[in-house]
Amino acid sequence: MMSLVSYLIISLILFIVGLVVMIARKNIIAILLGIELILNAAALNFVAYSRYVTNNLDGHVFSLFIIVIAAAESAIGLAIVIRFFQIKETIHVDEATQLRN
């Protein structure tokens, strides 16, 4: 029997995994994936809350929007990464250090 808490725990795990991925991985694609994980954690929260706590549709609506926007965002992100790859022939994040003091 799943309760709210377990959902929250899962989402929290997702969130933290996402953060760790974003920090530890050097591959930009992977970092984008990390973002997705975080967003999904949030989406999961919304759905769970609206299922167990609030009993209104706001949560569902919100998560739908999240999915859509996440798609758009990753699309843009990937496009930029491709530009980056075309110029630098790498997607190693540490190569992106031209801009600094």
Binding site: L19, I23, I31, A96, T97
Partner: protein, 733 residues
């Protein structure tokens, strides 16, 4: 007789007007306006003589004085009254002083018109000379320390200008600077003392100070630990020391002869140096109250003797006179110190007259032979008879030979000193005062006659050398070097003769010798001794203050005519008349003997040549004397050059180099440094060390460094999360 603005102001104002006119239009006037200056002084002489006559021959009363005031400026607002009064205060002393100053100054002016003729600085000289005189007259007239200080400083400025008048010479510049600064040291103390008195008793008018002393307002007042009377008295006396060239502030006076000789005459005789003594006399009650008299006496004694010793080895005729001035001023200070008020003042007057005469004579010698080094002179007696006569009279006077003024005054001082040192039964150490005093008297007689002999007697040594025109104080080279015979001339040597007349003691003392009674002036016998006495402070309590223009409320008729009784005038620490009298008698004989001894030795040494000159006797000591006891070196080389300038250099270096650089610009620097540091850390440390390596440890190390490295997106993440965590932590507590 009325004392109004109309008949007092001219004394002070006419020279001022002369100064203003000469300063602006001097070049356009015929003879560059020297006649104007002389005339102006003559006017003030006339008015002074009028006052003198009224005081000395009219009202013949000890406690007669004129005191009139007007408000200079007024800061009062509402209930808060605060104003500065100026005014005139004339008593017997001031009256005599006025006559002396204006008279001597007039003769000096007259002489200068001849002396400074064809001198390039003729015009400038006659700009400052009247201002100088007017300042001194104003100082004598002024009724309070504040205006006294003003004129005091103006005199300082005038002396600065006169000494440095030959501005082409570096030495002139140094001398003027030295003169001004040395006196300034005293001046600031005088200012301080004046402020102290002003702020405690609310005024610095003499009468108020006397009244305050009488009422005991000074009692219990202290300044930085010392009693107010002592503090103020000391400060004021320091001022006097500066102006009157007392040890250790005497160094400026010898250099003051850089200026033209008449200028020196004015400075040394009538005006500047007299001011210090005059001040000390005016503030005498304060000195007594502050228990400073012994100090004054000691300083005076040291000065009198020390200067005399230095004078022994001087070869420059003016230098000898300069040191003799210092020495004589020392005697005056002894007079103040030992409480022989009357004699001290008399010595001031007599000295003023004969010293003026001496300088003018020296001037006429220099002007006619263009030489002031005594070894190069000699035998001038036959060329300059009148000068010789005048100078001889004065020399006799200063040497303290009977029948001459110097004897009268100096002998009285020494007499009191003798009493003060031995009989008055204070601290036995104070015996040095009379000892040094008498020794100095002997030396004085010696070196003065040495000067006379070297200059006017023996064979003429002029021929033996070529011109030393460039050494002349007044540097005019256009005269030939042939010595032309002097003949009587209203401007060149008549002033000397006039002055030399007044070197006779009989004018000042009731008798020729100054002892005993011979009724020269009939009832007015011993007028000087009677009329001049230390102010009796009780007399000044609550005396009416008179506005200018108002008639004099003190009706002279009521004043008791002063009588001469044998005992009066000796204001010793205790009026133990018998002892005092005997001390005077002893002193008189001693000084006569000593004086003649000095003259005799000089005679043997320089006429008979039977004794070798001093220099050959004690060469080492002579060296010391030639260097004036190394005081100049001490002040200039050690204290100023090494100490003061060193400190200043350090401070200014500190100010710009350290304080400004680090404390002020530091702020900007700090930011820049921070910025640089982080940049350096990124570029050097991280990129250099953060090379990828294998192995877990290395990787971890890399990770850490990578995290820190800016410009890397993941460091931003880390930062974000870290800070987020810290925020959350903070908001939850």
């Amino acid at each position: 007789m009325e004392y109004t603005v109309g008949n007092i102001a001219p004394i002070f104002l006419s020279p001022v007007i002369a100064f203003v006119i000469n300063a602006f239009f001097g070049r356009k006037l015929p003879r560059q306006g020297d006649w104007l200056a002389t005339l102006s002084i003559f006017i003030s002489f006339i008015f002074s003589a009028r006052i003198f006559g009224d005081f000395v021959f009219g009202t013949f009363a000890t406690d007669f004085f004129i005191h009139k005031t007007f408000t200079w400026f007024d800061l009062s607002h509402g209930a808060n009254i605060w104003k500065v009064d100026m005014g005139i205060y004339i008593d017997n002393m001031a009256a005599i002083m006025l006559l002396m100053v204006s008279g001597v100054a007039f003769l000096i002016h007259l002489f200068s018109t001849w002396y400074m003729d064809h001198d390039e600085k003729h015009g400038r000289f006659f700009v400052f000379l009247p201002l100088f005189t007017s300042a001194m007259l104003g100082l004598v007239l002024s009724d309070n320390l504040f205006s006294l200080f003003i004129f005091w400083e103006i005199m300082g400025f005038c002396s600065y200008s006169l000494i440095g008048i030959y501005n082409k010479k570096e030495a002139a510049g140094d001398a003027s600077l030295k003169a001004f600064m040395t006196t300034r040291v005293g001046d600031v103390f005088l200012l301080l003392g004046m402020v102290a008195i002003w702020m405690v008793i609310g005024s610095v008018a003499y009468v108020d100070i006397y009244a305050a002393i009488a009422e005991g307002k000074f009692a219990g007042q202290t300044v930085i630990g010392i009693s107010l009377a002592t503090f103020a008295g000391l400060c004021i006396f320091l001022g006097g020391m500066g102006k009157s060239a007392q040890f250790p502030l005497h160094v400026w006076l010898p250099d003051a002869m850089m200026g033209p000789t008449p200028g020196s005459a004015l400075i040394h005789a009538a005006t500047m140096v007299a001011a210090g003594v005059y001040l000390s006399l005016r503030m005498y009650p304060l000195m007594v109250l502050g228990d400073l008299t012994w100090f004054i006496a000691v300083i005076g004694a040291i000065t009198a003797f020390g200067a005399a010793t230095i004078a022994l080895v001087q070869t420059d005729i003016k230098a000898v006179l300069a040191f003799s001035t210092i020495s004589q001023l020392g005697y005056m200070m002894i007079g103040v110190g030992v409480g022989s008020y009357n004699a001290a003042f008399m010595h001031l007057i007599t000295h003023a007259i004969f010293k003026a005469c001496l300088f003018l004579s020296a001037g006429s010698v220099i002007h006619s032979v263009h030489e002031q080094e005594m070894p190069k002179l000699g035998g001038l007696r036959k060329y300059l008879p009148y000068t010789h006569f005048a100078m001889m009279c004065c020399t006799l006077a200063i040497a303290g030979i009977p029948f001459f003024s110097g004897f009268v005054s100096k002998d009285r001082i020494l007499g009191d000193a003798l009493y003060f040192g031995f009989i008055a039964g204070q601290n036995p150490l104070l015996a040095i005062v009379p000892i040094l005093g008498f020794a100095g008297a002997g030396l004085t007689a010696f070196y003065m006659f040495r000067m006379m002999f070297l200059t006017f007697y023996g064979e003429n040594r002029m021929g033996h050398h070529d011109s030393h025109g460039d050494e002349h104080a007044h540097g005019d080279h256009h005269h030939g070097h042939d010595i032309h015979h002097e003949h009587l001339d209203a401007r060149s040597n008549v002033p000397l003769l006039i002055l030399s007349v007044f070197t006779l003691g009989v004018w000042f003392a009731g008798s020729l010798t100054g002892q005993g009674i011979v009724k020269v002036f009939g009832e007015k016998t011993e007028w000087f001794k009677i009329l001049v006495e230390a102010p009796k402070v009780e007399r000044f309590v609550k005396h009416p203050r008179e506005a200018f223009g108002s008639t004099d409320s003190r009706v002279k008729a009521e004043l008791p005519k002063a009588k001469y009784d044998h005992q009066s005038g000796y204001a010793g620490p205790n009026p133990d008349d018998h002892k005092i009298h005997s001390a005077h008698v002893v002193g008189a004989w001693m000084s006569i003997v000593i004086a003649f001894l000095g003259v005799f030795i000089a005679f043997l040494m320089y006429i008979k040549k039977s004794i070798k000159p001093l220099a050959s006797m004690f060469p080492g000591y002579t060296e010391t004397l030639k260097n004036k006891y190394y005081f100049d070196n001490l002040y200039v080389d050690v204290i100023i050059k090494k100490g003061l300038l060193g400190l200043n250099r350090f401070l200014s270096w500190f100010d710009m180099g350290i304080f400004d650089r680090f404390a002020v610009d530091g702020w900007a620097a700090v930011n820049r440094v921070l910025f640089k540091a982080s940049k350096w850390f990124d570029n050097v440390v991280v990129d250099a060390i953060g090379v990828d390596g294998t192995g877990v440890a290395v990787n971890l190390f890399n990770l850490v460094l990578r995290i820190v490295q800016s410009g890397k997106i993941q460091f931003y993440f880390i930062m974000l999360i870290v800070v987020l965590a810290s925020y959350i932590w903070t908001v939850n507590i």
